[in-house]
Symmetry: C2
Subunit: 275 residues, 2 copies
């Protein structure tokens, strides 16, 4: 693992690192915020999965999360959203290929060689984090934005016992019924029969999440029709899932929306992580 940068930030360290990933067959970059408390021993960890077009950098610089993570004494991991590089396939569209891994393992050419973001994010990177940073992997929670909200919700429900709490900002939560989902699943997995349950609404109907859930979506979200919030709300209520679904008046899909509610999300996770 190579250190690309480390900056002092809210009494802790905001670092950016690179490692060779077996899952994707590429170098992968990720960021970790460690609060001051990590100098004295392992701290709980919150995962932030980013949205379409993002790298590890967007949330690290624009979400304002470090202020609250420092206050709560928890680490944050910001993974990249796809493999990258000259040898990695791509597409002209912003919502397919590099920057659009969708947190799934592709099986179809040309994507199947490198686009293994489920294995990378759910298995390989946690091991790298556990080996190299003072984090307590028995205390993990997960959040994300848009495509990363989809990733957070599906991982939380598909990996029972892994995360103590889950939240999301404007998540894609019914991708099998949306152009943000069908397009990518078709490219990465082919026929609909192969898609499985990588859909938060389907997973909610099947199992739900054994812990608290917090979702914020803006009423002026410019991508509202692609998110599937109605379907997810129906599934969440039908399941009597413990949680809050908040529709925030006037907010859109931007990082101004995310940063506004980041304090609530970090504090929500901290309560579960320190319980």
């Amino acid at each position: 693992m190579e250190v690309l940068s480390e900056n002092r930030c809210f009494g802790g360290i905001q670092g950016v690192y690179k490692h060779q990933s077996t899952a994707t067959g590429t170098d992968m970059t990720f960021a970790v915020f460690l609060p001051a408390e990590a100098a004295d021993g392992p701290v709980p960890v919150l995962w932030f999965l980013s949205g379409l077009t993002c790298t590890h950098d967007n949330a690290m610089t624009k979400a304002g999360a470090q202020a609250w993570a420092a206050e709560q004494g928890i680490a944050i991991v910001f993974p990249d959203t796809s493999p990258r590089g000259d040898g990695v396939p791509n597409d002209d569209a912003f919502d397919l290929g590099q920057g659009a891994g969708f947190y799934i393992d592709a099986t179809e050419a040309p994507w199947s060689d490198h686009f293994k973001m489920w294995t990378y994010t759910a298995e390989e990177l946690p091991a790298v984090i556990g080996e190299n940073f003072a984090v307590d992997l028995t205390r993990q929670s997960i959040t994300g934005h848009s495509m990363g909200g989809h990733g957070a919700l599906t991982m939380a429900m598909a990996l029972p016992g892994r995360f103590r709490s889950v939240s999301a900002f404007a998540p894609i939560c019914n991708p099998t019924q949306s152009d943000w989902g069908r397009k990518q699943f078709t490219a990465y997995w082919g026929d609909e029969d192969n898609w499985g349950l990588h859909d938060a609404t389907l997973l909610m109907k099947k199992s739900g999440f054994d812990g608290p859930m917090l979702i914020d979506t803006g009423t002026n979200d410019q991508f509202w029709d692609l998110l599937g919030t109605e379907a997810f709300a129906a599934a969440m209520t039908a399941k009597r899932q413990e949680g809050l679904l908040r529709l925030q008046k006037g907010y859109d899909h931007s990082y101004f929306f995310i940063s506004t509610f980041m304090e609530d999300h970090v504090n929500f996770h901290a309560e579960a992580l320190w319980a």
Copy 2:
């Protein structure tokens, strides 16, 4: 004035606007954060002047200032750092020309046609802000980063009575003795005899500031030798200037440093603005 974007943010509005500037002879872009309270009447205003290479965007997205401004009910204005565009002269160096206006009015060719950032920032833009936004121009304070810290300190001292408080993050505070200053003043103003007192250390020796002052600089600032902090500290103490000069252990010149101490700066200004 043209609205480029408006996003709901911490209960208020983060907007980006464009107008034709008489001072620079170009279109100029700036950002304004208005807290929710501005819907009910004029609010105090804090100016944030940015550093080399920055536009209005950097501090707007990375400084985390809106959280605290919303809490205090004050507006923030983020001006650009220079005129820009095809007809505007530039230099290959990052620290001269576009993105490096230094908050002064150039008198030398080729800069003198457009590089009038003192007049723009101190006179023209405040009038535009006063006409178009619910701000109370009798309650103004100013802050900035690096080159923008130079701008904030020189404006606060050169315009007595304008600002109730002044602060800066890692300011260039003795530019007449630094390569961040001498190079640009020579280009924009020519011979040293023409430079006047656009130097915080010289202004401190002459007059100081009639109000509280807060300066944060990191002990690991990678540009330490260019800032002139020692000279300014000597002048500040000789003048018995009311204020705090804080050397923050381990912090560097980045926005991770700025965002860490932004709460302190906004609260510091709010105390003066609401007094």
